[in-house]
Amino acid sequence: MRVTVLSPERSLYDGDADAVVAPAYDGQVGILPRHAPFLTVLGEGTLTVQHGAGATQFRVAGGFLQVVTDVIRVVADAAEPLPGA
């Protein structure tokens, strides 16, 4: 599935992924391939994008997460990549 992570300033991630764990407003949400269409408000926390080679992590706050036919968009009000991982 395809994942894009967007902040108001720029696009932080655009590529394929095997799983996404995102901080929704009421707790962590895990998205795997073939997830049903889904739209939720994001809270504050760490977003993890799992892909073949490993995982990329971002610190996000606010915004929303949208899933439609294996295309995931994380549109965060504030987002920055976390070092390492």
Partner: protein, 292 residues
């Protein structure tokens, strides 16, 4: 003799001016490139936000959200006008155009018996309205040419709060829309009440989302982000437009400095030649007289 010295002095002065304008042109070109990247970088977020709001929005929400509240048609309206200009000059008619657009809108609104308060960003706008003795509701000059989303949030948060309580009936923003480096028309955009973006993305057929918590609650979260993002885009586009305008202005200045130099050099050489000819004639004349 005096004339050639005067010409030499002017040639030097034009040369050093050209050096400066040429450097400014190059600086503006490289800053334009980066500012343009920022404009492009901000696009996906804005598109995504507009699409989702468009697909969630239904007309029946209009009364439930303060940010969507349409002003009463008969009451006297209070409007906040946010004008974005640059902090620095030497960019041609850039700021003058923005100020003209703001004054046009100001007159238009006041013609409709609205009370308008001015919120200014950028030194050029501030000094103009100070000079014309208008009351300025707020001003700031610290945003510069690398605006961030946080800047936009600071600018618009108080306006949004006052709009929500009914203290303001509309908020508009005057900025330079960045179509391309060549086309940056000054534009007035109404940011409040929010005009929900059209639902284009789902192509008419609504996607059946699992919504958490609910369409209404999501919209409530996203509408302020949408307003903030419009201000952010206005800031970013104006910053890019400023560099574009400066590059063009400095290119023109460099070109005409070159033209002036050509003319000055030609005049100088002619004067120099005339002087040599005259000196020769004098020497020959003197020798003739001695021989005589």
């Amino acid at each position: 003799m005096a004339k050639t010295r005067e010409l030499r002095r002017r040639i030097k002065s034009v040369q050093s001016t050209r050096q400066i304008t040429k450097t400014m042109e190059m600086v503006a070109t490289s800053k334009l490139k980066r500012a343009q990247d920022r404009v492009v970088g901000a696009r996906p977020y804005a598109t995504a936000l507009a699409e989702v709001i468009g697909s969630l929005y239904a007309p029946e929400f209009a009364e439930r959200f303060p940010l969507l509240r349409q002003p009463a048609p008969d009451a006297a309206r209070r409007v906040a006008l946010l004008l974005i200009t640059s902090n620095r000059g030497l960019c041609g008619g850039f700021n003058a155009n923005l100020i003209r657009e703001a004054r046009r809108r100001l007159q238009e609104l006041e013609g409709q018996a609205a009370t308008v308060e001015l919120h200014l960003v950028g030194r050029k706008g501030i000094s103009f309205f100070k000079f014309s003795h208008r009351t300025i509701a707020s001003q700031r000059i610290d945003i510069g040419d690398k605006p961030t989303a946080a800047h936009a949030a600071e600018l618009v948060a108080p306006l949004m709060a006052r709009f929500a309580t009914g203290e303001l009936d509309a908020v508009e923003i005057v900025f330079a829309k960045f179509n391309s480096a060549m086309s940056t028309p000054p534009t007035t955009l109404r940011i409040l009440p929010v005009d929900p973006p059209a639902d284009r993305w789902s192509g008419g057929q609504a996607v059946n989302y699992i919504l958490k918590p609910s369409a209404e609650a999501i919209l409530e979260q996203l509408l302020p982000l949408y307003v903030r993002n419009q201000v952010f885009r206005a800031l970013v586009e104006t910053a890019a437009a400023e560099h574009g305008a400066r590059r063009t202005a400095m290119k023109n200045a460099t070109d005409s400095a070159g033209d002036i130099l050509d003319i000055l050099r030609r005049t100088y050489n002619r004067a120099r030649q005339a002087q040599i000819t005259q000196e020769l004639a004098e020497i020959v004349g003197g020798a003739e007289a001695l021989r005589g």
